[in-house]
């Protein structure tokens, strides 16, 4: 015999204004199996919950119905409440008499009658509920951080500081990412390398962090807490254990004209190289496309000069497998190469460059040793024009979104240029100024007031040569006049894009991307560091364009999620998931086909009756989200969602027809 308790909440006047709660409680008392029913002003409050717990004990209740708000709000609250009183939390049902009743109706009599019907249905269901229990799943407390830019480094450091092992995998020869390419950063004018390199060294020397540079993620299997990742360490051709970074090899290398990726192609590097002098690890790689020994069998100077005999021309890619419990994706972004607008002539006119290329020119470690010089003749420019929104905020030809960082870095670049060359005439064409960060607006104002940059509101329509200058044709929309500026150098703030292979990485990890290939977060406002794949988190520019403060903050958020995951001893699976009745399952695997979370696997069992081996479906408790699609697709009704069985739901429906 059921012993159900019903608790009707007033929710202040939210419910009580339209539903007569005392009447609902009175009606509940008459329902079959209900031994106790009462109403109270705020059941979710401490005294309200106490009411439930006392009733469970005093009345020996075996099931509870709370008639109140939406379960989306307080289901976890009331489950916890009944569990504390010794009742299985899944023997509690809620009847939503607020969002689905009092908030959408005016007529008191009709609303009250509806509330009573909703309670009747909930009572019928809860009396057929079964106790449900979570499973304990194993948990590997190691993390893999994919990408060694500032976000990846920060996430790795935060997780490692919390006491867990981290594998930091970076595809280029050194960690550092794009931030290592920047000169001084806004708004503090900290030198990027000066604030980044200490973190790089920390990451390399942290006892809990293992650095794998010149490495890529090959594949991922498994699920949260139990991932198996395969990593490809590309052939470096240098023994990293022995190398002391003495520079003998790259200083001697005769191949000196390979366009350096780190300098955006504006300067050369050698075939055996480190990308920049502060590289971590300070171990070179050999570019096998350009090395004379590897392509023609000639030279071999680096091997001859190396004092530690580290050169390994016979090196090969190595594949290794690691077990990790969580993945942080911090693969970063790309800067568009400036060619979106043919009318700006990037690629045709040498003196039209991108913002990132300008960053390399103005940087002391760049190809011009920090002197801003025109690419065409290496002369200092007398007039420089910066073009903001060179492709962003343009649904027709460019990208529709705002790239977020360009207004600020352009202002910074103007400041750096004027600091070094105060006599330069500087113009900035802009559409708006987006300076919504701490000290950002003040920074831009300072650039305009103190440094005398001329800001013109209007997007240029064409850039073309005139003699050895470039004419930037645009409009000053504040004056309502067309404007032409003769420039020696034009800097385009081109859009921030997702990495070219972002979609491939997403596929490997089972992640979603948006239409611009940025990785999709679990909820854009409330869960920015998580993805819909349990155990995989996002940090930095791969989720969307962001500046360094935001990248670091997002890395901390991702790390906090990982640490929160690892703080448990094991993972508790969600009990309201699908369950297969193996006795009646025929192994058609329709459920496997339709499962949106790939949570169903094929399983071979020995039939207890016939002793033959046959196929059945098996639900992975760690991944199943309990959506019920499999239950709907099963032709023999042998897969059900616990807590939502047909018998339970039909009882609730049938009672309404009475």
């Amino acid at each position: 015999m059921a012993r159900t308790g019903v608790f009707v909440c007033h929710c202040g006047t939210n419910i009580a204004k339209t539903v007569v709660c005392e009447q609902v409680a009175q009606a509940a008392r008459a329902m079959p199996g209900v031994v106790y029913a009462t109403d109270y002003r705020y059941i979710c409050s401490a005294p309200g919950q106490q009411l439930i717990q006392e009733a469970i004990r005093d009345q020996n209740l075996d099931s509870v119905v709370v008639a109140s708000c939406s379960p989306r709000l307080h289901e976890p609250t009331f489950r916890r409440c009944v569990e504390e009183a010794g009742l299985n939390p899944y023997l509690m049902e809620m009847a939503n008499i607020r969002e689905q009743c009092s908030w959408v109706h005016d007529d008191q009599a009709l609303a009250t009658a509806k509330a009573i019907a909703l309670v009747r249905a909930a009572v019928a269901k809860v009396q057929r509920n079964e106790p449900l229990f979570s499973e304990q799943l194993p948990l590997t407390k190691r993390a893999l951080v994919l990408g060694g830019g500032i976000a990846g480094i920060q996430a790795a450091l935060d997780i490692a500081d919390a006491g867990y092992e981290v594998l930091l995998v970076e595809r280029s020869p050194s960690i550092g990412g794009h931030m290592a390419q920047f000169d001084k950063t806004f708004p503090t004018l900290d030198c990027a390398a000066c604030i980044l390199t200490p973190k790089m060294v920390d990451a390399a020397s942290h006892p809990n962090i293992r650095l794998l540079t010149w490495s890529e993620l090959e594949s991922v299997q498994g699920y949260v807490g139990n991932f198996e990742v395969t990593i490809r360490q590309k052939a470096r051709y240098v023994d990293a254990e022995l190398c002391i970074g003495c520079a003998e090899c790259w200083v001697r290398c005769p191949v000196k004209n390979v366009p350096a990726e780190f300098d955006e192609g504006l300067g050369p590097r050698t075939a055996i190289y480190v990308p920049f002098p502060q590289a971590v690890p300070l171990v070179p790689v050999i570019d096998k496309e350009h090395c004379r020994y590897l392509t023609e069998g000639k030279c071999g100077v680096c091997a001859k000069r190396c004092p530690k005999d580290c050169i390994r021309y016979d090196d090969e890619d190595k594949l290794s497998t690691e077990q990790v419990g969580a993945l942080v994706v911090a693969t970063g972004f790309d800067v568009e190469k400036g060619a979106l607008y043919g009318e700006y002539g990037y690629g045709q006119y040498e003196n039209v460059i991108t913002g990132l290329e300008f960053e390399r020119l103005v940087n002391l470690s760049g190809p011009t040793e920090g002197k801003v010089l025109r690419p065409s003749d290496q002369q200092p420019p007398q007039t420089v024009v910066f073009v903001q929104c060179a492709g962003s905020r343009d649904p027709a030809k460019g990208v529709p979104y705002c790239s977020r960082v360009c207004c600020m870095y352009t202002a910074k670049q103007v400041l750096l240029l004027k600091e070094k060359h105060p006599e330069t005439d500087v113009y900035v064409f802009y559409l708006d100024i987006r300076a919504g960060g701490k000290n950002y607006e003040e920074f831009v104002q300072r650039v305009q007031d103190e440094f005398g940059a001329k800001y013109i509101r209007g997007r240029p329509s064409a850039i073309f040569p005139s003699g050895d200058k470039l004419v930037v044709r645009g409009a000053d929309t504040m004056l309502g006049l067309p404007v032409e500026v003769e420039a020696d150098l034009v800097v385009l703030a081109s859009p921030i894009l997702a990495r070219e292979d972002a979609k491939d990485v997403a596929r490997k990890l089972g992640l979603d991307t948006d239409q611009h290939s940025f990785f999709t977060e679990a909820h854009p406002k409330l869960r920015p560091a998580e993805t819909l794949t349990a155990g995989v988190y996002l940090a930095g520019g791969c989720q969307f364009a962001k500046d360094i403060p935001d990248a670091v903050a997002s890395a901390g958020a991702a790390a906090a999620k990982v640490v929160g995951l690892f703080a448990k001893d094991s993972l508790e699976s969600e009990p309201m998931i699908a369950e297969v009745d193996e006795a009646s399952c025929v192994g058609c695997l329709n459920c496997l086909e339709v499962c949106p979370f790939t949570a169903i696997e094929e399983k071979q069992i020995e039939d207890p009756r016939t002793k033959q081996v046959r196929t059945v479906a098996s639900v992975n408790a760690a991944i199943c989200e309990g959506c019920g699609t499999c239950a709907a697709a099963c032709p023999s009704k042998c897969i059900t969602v616990k807590g939502f069985k047909d018998s339970q739901l039909l009882a609730a429906i049938d009672i309404l027809a009475v």
């Binding site: 607008y341 043919g342 009318e343 002539g345 045709q348 064409a462 073309f464 040569p465 005139s466």
Partner: protein
């Protein structure tokens, strides 16, 4: 080679010189032009401002007529070309617009390939075939290839050449032995239909065009649009070196194939081309 020919209102009227040039040039190239039967005005600049359906309809009717001749139509006037191509695109994306037009089937209309003059020479005729026919290379002329705004834009409609830095006419001129200059105003607007209503705008724009062409070392302009041609010829002010002669693309082809200036309608040009041609040994 045989192709439907859409002269439009201009090539029989105010751009009669272009019409004569196109016909003579094609004859010399061995291309049989079959005028589209019962063609109507393409709608030019006016129809689209009045009604999208009217604009698409007029183009579609012409394409349906052209389909009776063959699978392609040559529209030497840049505006007619643009209108016809737009109609072909609309027949694919908005076929409902053509409901109720007698004899016009969206599928048939969409299947007709529309060529501008440079497009025809590059893609249908072929630069190699063109090169072989040259008997009098254009050496000594330094033309500035002027595309205007309708030949290569909008890019998703025209789908030919680069919309910002086009080079098809330059390639043709080079195949004819000429040396087109490098200049940066190839797609600048000439002012188009503002010529009668806001003449000062057209004057200013054509003035700038001619100046920039001269700065780049050009001694003439080459265009494939009768509106550009008329605007540049009639609105450029005289300067110390006289007015800059303006040719049609087909004039250049014709001259390189050995035709005489009279055969190409060059006597109808407003700016005398003969002195330049004589100096270059082409007349």
């Amino acid at each position: 080679m045989r192709i439907a020919y859409f002269p439009g209102c201009s090539l029989h009227g105010t751009a009669r010189d272009y019409g004569e040039s196109v016909v003579a040039c094609c004859r010399a190239l061995g291309v049989e032009l079959v005028e589209v039967p019962d063609w109507v005005c393409c709608g030019a600049s006016t129809a689209p401002t009045l009604s999208h359906r009217l604009a698409v309809g007029l183009g579609a009717i012409n394409l349906a007529q052209a389909a009776q001749v063959g699978d392609a139509v040559l529209a030497p006037c840049a505006a007619c070309y643009n209108r016809l191509k737009m109609a072909g695109c609309a027949a694919q994306t908005e076929p409902k617009l053509l409901d109720g037009l007698e004899g016009v089937e969206a599928e048939k209309v969409a299947a007709v390939r529309v060529y501008s003059m440079p497009e025809f020479l590059v893609e249908r005729y072929g630069l190699d075939a063109l090169r072989e026919k040259v008997t009098r290379p254009l050496a000594g002329l330094h033309p500035a290839a002027y595309y205007g705004c309708l030949l290569v834009r909008p890019p998703d409609v025209c789908q030919f050449d680069d919309p910002e830095q086009p080079h098809s006419m330059d390639d043709i001129l080079r195949a004819l032995g000429g040396e087109p200059v490098v200049w940066y105003n190839k797609t600048d607007c000439c002012g188009g239909m503002l010529s009668p209503t806001r003449t000062e705008v057209v004057s200013a724009l054509t003035q700038r065009l001619v100046e920039r062409a001269r700065q780049a070392g050009a001694d003439c302009l080459v265009t494939a649009c009768p509106m550009c041609h008329m605007n540049v010829e009639s609105r450029q002010a005289a300067c110390r070196d006289g007015r800059l002669p303006t040719f049609y693309l087909t004039d250049m082809v014709g001259l390189a194939l050995g035709l005489r200036p009279e055969e190409l309608g060059l006597k109808r040009h407003l700016v005398d081309t003969l002195p330049l041609l004589q100096a270059a040994g082409l007349a």
